[in-house]
């Protein structure tokens, strides 16, 4: 899933300073699961903003609304009937959702309330961890199912580096060395011989080197 963090209140307050009537727009997908921008977080932000505005003695009217998804136009368009009643939209979706909302309503001020951080997993309730960087050319079959791009601080393809010690990464003592994990997993799988193969330099073109990426399935297109 896509994981993100709610921006600090101060930053959001600053963004909405000129406005008296705003729409806070949540998303029910990843950002709900990582407890950053779902219905509850929309309610918390709305309440925080109302309280701080009351304290300043400035009024604010807030509508709370959470879409099924903010990365599909069918859902975003659900706000069409009422979006114009609001001076600005504060989006609590990931960066993709925020942008798509802005794109669908070019005349509207759309502001981000989320810092989108990574593609990851839920380790336990309340703990999320990065796993993939969307490099566009997956090598997990070579690396024991552990991603060297996202999980090695240096994205090394033939690790570990000299900084690996007792299974931990030199960049952060609380982080497992991805290459230690890779070696351990290859051992478990009986594939340690793969470790002897040099993985050639990665072609980063399928990653972001070629600019923003588009995926097309002609067979699914309607026209």
């Amino acid at each position: 899933m896509i994981v993100g963090n709610r921006k600090p209140l101060e930053e959001i307050q600053e963004m909405i300073k000129p406005y008296k009537k705003i729409l806070i727009l949540g998303c029910r997908e990843c950002i709900t699961v990582c407890a950053a921008g779902g219905e509850r977080e929309v309610a918390v932000l709305a309440s925080e903003l109302k309280l701080s505005r009351t304290k300043e003695g400035r009024e604010i009217e807030i509508k709370e609304f959470t879409l099924e998804r903010q990365c599909d136009y069918e859902y975003i368009d659900q706000i069409k009937p009422f979006v114009d009643e609001y001076e600005a939209v504060v989006s609590m979706a990931c960066g993709a959702g925020i942008q798509y909302t802005a794109e669908r309503f070019p005349q509207k001020i759309v502001l981000p309330a989320i810092n989108t951080t990574f593609l990851g997993v839920t380790l336990e309730q309340g703990v999320w961890s990065e796993r993939c960087q969307g490099c566009g050319d997956c090598v997990l079959h070579l690396t024991g199912g552990i991603c060297p791009v996202a999980r090695c601080a240096k994205s090394l393809f033939n690790g570990p580096c000299g900084g690996s010690s007792n299974g931990k990464c030199e960049v952060n003592k609380d982080t497992d060395c991805a290459w230690q994990l890779i070696v351990d997993r290859l051992k478990t799988l009986g594939q340690l011989d793969r470790y002897e193969d040099i993985i050639p330099a990665k072609d980063w073109k399928p990653s972001r080197e070629g600019g923003p990426r588009v995926r097309i399935r002609e067979d699914l297109r309607l026209d």
């Binding site: 209140l9 925080e48 309280l51 701080s52």
Partner: protein, 123 residues
């Protein structure tokens, strides 16, 4: 046991303190209260196993939210009181009332509610 406790304390019954989330507490502040405390069971005594432990953690989060808004984090607290401990219940109500009195009225209530509250604070 007929114990008295400050009349400004309004009780909201919930099945378990684990039911109380940040939104409920923030909304109470929106409605003009000066403080909120959760009176949960003693640790280890939760009928729902961990409700009171989760509530305790949530109170820490709620304090952070209050700070962000510019309210004193002490305006929200968690207490653990055994169900049978009436005297402790009354004592906590007094303690919290005194604490909130010392902090003064909530700065986020609308002007009309501040008027209402003056009576309570000046009593």
């Amino acid at each position: 046991m007929r114990l008295s406790y400050p009349t400004n304390v309004k009780i909201i019954k919930v099945p378990c303190t684990g039911r109380v989330d940040a939104v409920t507490v923030l909304k109470s502040f929106e409605s003009g209260v000066d403080g909120v405390y959760l009176a949960g069971c003693e640790i280890g005594d939760c009928h729902f196993i961990k409700g009171n432990i989760r509530a305790k953690k949530r109170v820490v989060y709620m304090k952070e939210l209050l700070k962000e808004v510019g309210l004193e984090p002490e305006r929200v607290e968690m207490y653990h009181i055994a169900t049978s401990d009436g005297p402790r219940f009354a004592q906590v109500a007094k303690e919290m009332t005194e604490k909130i009195r010392a902090l003064g009225p909530s700065p986020v209530r609308g002007p009309e509610k501040t008027e209402e509250a003056k009576e309570v604070f000046e009593a």
